[in-house]
Symmetry: C2
Subunit: 339 residues, 2 copies
């Protein structure tokens, strides 16, 4: 397990900690990118074109990095972790393609999204293609345990997205419902990505369990901060627009808390803007002022900090070294980017 220093230092929206992680597994990451390019191939030209648009558009590869780094942390041999990391990225990409279709998004990572360029039809089908290819990669690795964990994660992600549809525009959504959604739609794949690395390395059950907890809690913290950032000026500096969730009527924790703590008049405001979708100029501004009034952004970040701490506790049970240190810094950065 040697630390490999990459010659080309890319900047990442997730900060220096991710850059350091990339450096530590740079040969592996190059190998993952090669597998991704190879397995996107198809005689049907539109498939690599469309998939490549998203895959090569500067995503941070956070999930495959979790698989690579946890595998290396436990001293992996062979290339199972490479294929699994590529499979994880394919599952994530398929999810994004389907998300963009269903949300009618127009931007993804600062570029026009695939559904706008090639139509919804193509995005759904190329997502299906990548999803199938991810399973072929897992089959090649030949571990039923990994297949079980990743296919379960994929089902849970879809479940979480359907759950999110049900809670969308529903201001009565409880904190519990919200947490169930983000555990399913985000944390499940973080957990599976981290655990898969451990399985590829032949880790013990206790190590697998710690990796799962590390990934799951990091995923929850990550999504909580994402949802807080959507209402924050910090968002603009990360290349995303502010208020997307508000415009989509998504009920995230900052809203759930503001609604619960609000006056009748304020609740009427949330119902009009999010449930009925009648939004006027100045409504986003009022929404953020209500969140400030009730400290719901900072409470969301506090909650993220708590899950970040749990993720770190799990990490402490795993072998120490540069990878462990850097993963710890990623937890810190995941929280601190909120400020």
């Amino acid at each position: 397990m040697g630390a490999v220093i990459s010659l080309n230092q890319e900047t990442s929206p997730l900060g220096n900690s991710v850059e350091r992680l990339v450096d530590l597994v740079s040969d592996d990451l190059d190998a993952v990118n090669a597998v991704i390019l190879d397995r996107m191939k198809s005689p049907v030209e539109l498939i690599p074109t469309l998939a490549g648009h998203l895959i090569s558009s500067g995503g941070k590869r956070l999930r495959p990095l979790l698989t690579l780094s946890t595998a290396r942390m436990l001293g992996v041999d062979g290339d199972a972790h490479i294929k699994l990391a590529a499979a994880v990225e394919f599952i994530h990409t398929a999810t994004l393609l389907h998300d963009d279709v269903i949300d009618e998004s127009v931007l993804r990572r600062g570029k026009a999204s695939a559904n706008v360029l090639w139509g919804n039809k193509s995005s759904v089908l190329v997502g299906d293609f990548l999803f199938s290819r991810s399973f072929r990669l897992m089959v090649e690795v030949g571990s039923f345990e990994v297949l079980d964990i990743l296919s379960n994660a994929a089902a849970v992600i879809a479940e979480g997205e359907v759950m999110q549809l049900s809670t969308a525009k529903d201001t009565a959504t409880s904190e519990e419902d919200y947490m169930a959604v983000i555990e399913a739609k985000t944390a499940a794949l973080f957990a599976a990505a981290a655990r898969s690395g451990g399985i590829a390395a032949g880790g013990t059950k206790a190590q697998e369990e710690a990796l799962e907890q590390f990934g799951r809690n990091l995923g929850i913290a990550f999504q909580l901060v994402d949802d807080a950032l959507d209402y924050s000026g910090r968002q603009a500096t990360l290349g995303k627009t502010v208020g997307d969730d508000f415009r989509d009527g998504k009920i995230t924790l900052p809203v759930v808390l503001a609604y619960r703590r609000g006056t009748d008049d304020e609740r009427t405001f949330w119902q009009r803007t999010l449930e009925e979708g009648h939004q006027e100029d100045g409504d986003l501004h009022r929404a953020t002022r209500l969140m400030e009034k009730y400290n719901t952004i900072s409470d969301t970040i506090d909650r993220a900090t708590k899950f970040g701490n749990r993720s770190r506790e799990a990490l402490d049970q795993l072998p120490s070294g540069p990878l462990n240190t850097t993963l710890g810094e990623i937890i810190d950065f995941c929280i601190s980017r909120a400020y």
Copy 2:
């Protein structure tokens, strides 16, 4: 391998041969339906509601029947074939859900389609859920060979659908392109469904290969007849509307042949109606008259007959008995329903 006679004789749109096949594997089919109901379950209510709408809407279960009957034909033990048949039906259902979204269909099996009732978003996600669950079923069966075959079929289906998007509205589509599309989008799953049954039963490689050929050629014949029927009055008696493909601008074999054999004036007609999508009253009637003029419907059915014969040749290499006889009758019926 005992023939089990069912007490409730259901009628099937595929005729008496399918009824007979259902009777021969009725206990297995009941078990498949139980697995399907069980694995559709989710705490997220919309998932079983939406999936159940499609799964229990009188589909003919042709693909899972192929898995069950080929497994029984080779003397299967245990319940691997039950789980694989359910997995095959889940893959098929996921494909239908995604098809309906992308085609903006309003009817499926004579009922309002899921995307109309619950929205495109839900249909895409529930399709993803079923797809993931199908993989979990395969993982439970514990055969890497089956996982490889079915995950490959799933990738090929998506590839075929993207290919179909590229040929849609393109009157220059060649017969070869058309055949590539139907082999991928239809025949691949028929082939995988039949072969999986053989693997579950521990068949020889030669038997697996024969099952694959049986399924693939049946699938091609089935799709050719479907595409012929879309322009035929017979279609109405099968509970489907006539001319759907024409309205969608789909380039199927009856069109490919009519275009190739047509005059300049007729080609202009096909370009206006299918490429440019400008359709007027009477255009569908003119289309069917041109197909009659050039015998393209009957030529399509002739071609289906040829593939039906290949399917039967493959069947002849497999153990004889009531199941083999009935599968042969299904090939015949698949062709004869065109008349």
